[in-house]
Amino acid sequence: MYDIRPPSVDWSMVTPVVLVFLTGLAGLLIEMFRPKQNNNSIVLTSLGGLAASFFVLYGQLSAEAGETLAGMVLRDRFGILLQMALVGVCFISILFSEGYLREKRIPFGEFYPLAIWSTMGGMLMVASNSLLMIFIGLEVLSISLYVLAGLSRAEQKSEESALKYLLLGSFASAFLLYGIAFVYGASGSVHLSGVVKAWATNHANTQHMLLFGMGMMLVGFGFKSALAPFHQWTPDVYQGAPTNVTGFMAAGSKIAAIGALFRVLSESVELSQAWLPALFWVAILTMVVGNFAALVQKDVKRILGYSSISNAGYILAAILAHVKAPDKIGANTIVFYLFSYAVMTLGVFAVISMNAKDGREGTRLSDLNGLWKRSPLAGGVLIVCLASLIGIPLTGGFFGKFMIFQDLLTADMTPLAIVLAVTSVVSVYYYLGIAHAAWVAEEGATPAESAPMNAGLQVACVTCLVGVFVMGIFGQPVLNMIGGIVR
């Protein structure tokens, strides 16, 4: 009876996640002994740990795919690439967070461990075929983000943002868990391979349960990746949360949620095809709502919130192309677009975080006026990242959108392709609005203040700039590195 045999463990597969976790723990320990108000040692430790994890992941890029720990951990190229993206996003966010939090007068040392553990949650989500792990990873990711969104407690906006995110996020988690419970009830397995088997055996009773459970799970993922009609929280939360947290949320949380959504949809592709018509309309609605609602916004962070919704719509379209024609279209478009989206959106947020000074921060469009005079580098990075978000050639955003367009045509989903093209044209207006505020509009009577760029912010900006251009100009070599992830 007490014959306990632990599952076989391939430690190399969990090394990156464990490294990231230990980095957070080290940061938390240092926080106790550091000198007051000085987070440099925590920042350096965090950056070092993340870089180490990144290189371990890079070393495993061509490693054999496989599962370990009784199917709870999966290693394949898709997972490793998204894990690398997540670690990179956390690295860049931490680079520009130190100065921002100091200027905003909220230099909590706990920010770094929480951001790192949040990344760890995302890494667990994208590298598992077990619904249980996806759920626990999602909770680790989200609970850290709820706290981070409310970091600036003196501001009512930040508190509102955290509370809204907590309530709606828990609601979404409940939907996801409800769906997982149904899928488990119908298939007797939390592993996606078991779900596929149950679907294939064709028992009419359990098929309805599976369909219903899948629908509930899609609602949960829809909340997390900000797809319309589950997007309402996005602009408010993005506006209220501290800017560095918003940047991390926009890039990291999206990569994780989309990665898990893709895994669920693509692993049980026959089951997901039943949901294809609904998802088709969700994609259209998301692209339209995100882009049109952004037109009337006056706050940069709100605009970027809507931009994040519309980008979720583009990526969902790419996923649907894969679900419709899994034999012809692989995951490389999605991975490429997530990479380029992370780089360009982090670049914009890094620039905007400059506006914080002496505990105050202006995020209206008019607060950006004269930005190029205050810092030409920031102005340049802003305009390149915006160009990429619009999708102007030579940038990563253009190449990504072009590939999604191509995939949609290959998968015979022309309506989605048309909506993608039209809404992209609409998006030019509000992205140009941001660029106009930073470069053309004259400063008002009281010029906005901003702190000088520190080294961390400069490095973060330049990294994003280089990333956008590398993905735009050397798109093909990057794609080759991503490799053929065809199912």
Binding site: Y2, P6, W117, L124, M133, E139, V140, V147
Partner: protein, 171 residues
């Protein structure tokens, strides 16, 4: 001695009767603290029923989670809010009690229509020995599910750090 009921049935009746009585008390009593205490007793007796069914782990978790954590939290909230006596729980006369009654009765009907017939045939109130036993659950938890188990501890750590971060006043 030739009683019409067996000892097991007698035990069950006693436990279930008290549990049901306490559940009625939760709704009927006007003082919120008394209602909450009734719920605590109800949870305890539910746990005892689980023990008689050989589901020890379920019983222990029932006491730990519901009585230990959730009810104490309830009581804290009730006491901190300091509701002003009896008038708070006086219901207004509107459609809500009727609606609640309709929903409650239909839920009861739905569940009992599925449960009563199969339950009538049951004469032995005892689960299989290995079913839900602490040993088998522990074994599963520390073999196949050891990774999620460990990650759940990270989740708790995040929760602790986060709540302290949000509660502390100065940097």
């Amino acid at each position: 001695m030739n009683l019409p009921v067996t000892g097991e049935q007698l035990t069950f009746m006693a436990l279930a009767g008290i549990a049901a009585l306490m559940a009625v008390g939760v709704v009927v009593l006007n003082n919120p603290v008394r209602s909450a205490m009734c719920l605590v007793v109800n949870f305890f007796f539910l746990a005892f029923i689980y023990f008689t069914l050989n589901a020890q782990l379920l019983g222990i978790s029932q006491i730990l989670v519901y009585t230990g954590a959730i009810m104490v939290l309830f009581l804290f909230v009730v006491m901190l809010l300091n509701l002003g006596g009896k008038q708070i729980f006086k219901e207004r006369r509107d459609f809500k009690p009727i609606l609640g009654m309709v929903v409650g009765v239909s839920l009861f009907g739905m569940i009992s229509s599925q449960l009563i017939l199969p339950m009538l045939k049951v004469d032995q109130i005892r689960a299989d020995n290995a079913y839900g036993a602490p040993q088998s659950i522990g074994k599963t938890l520390f073999t196949n599910y050891v990774w999620p188990f460990e990650i759940a501890s990270v989740l708790l750590l995040v929760g602790i750090v986060g709540s302290i971060l949000l509660a502390k006043r100065r940097v």
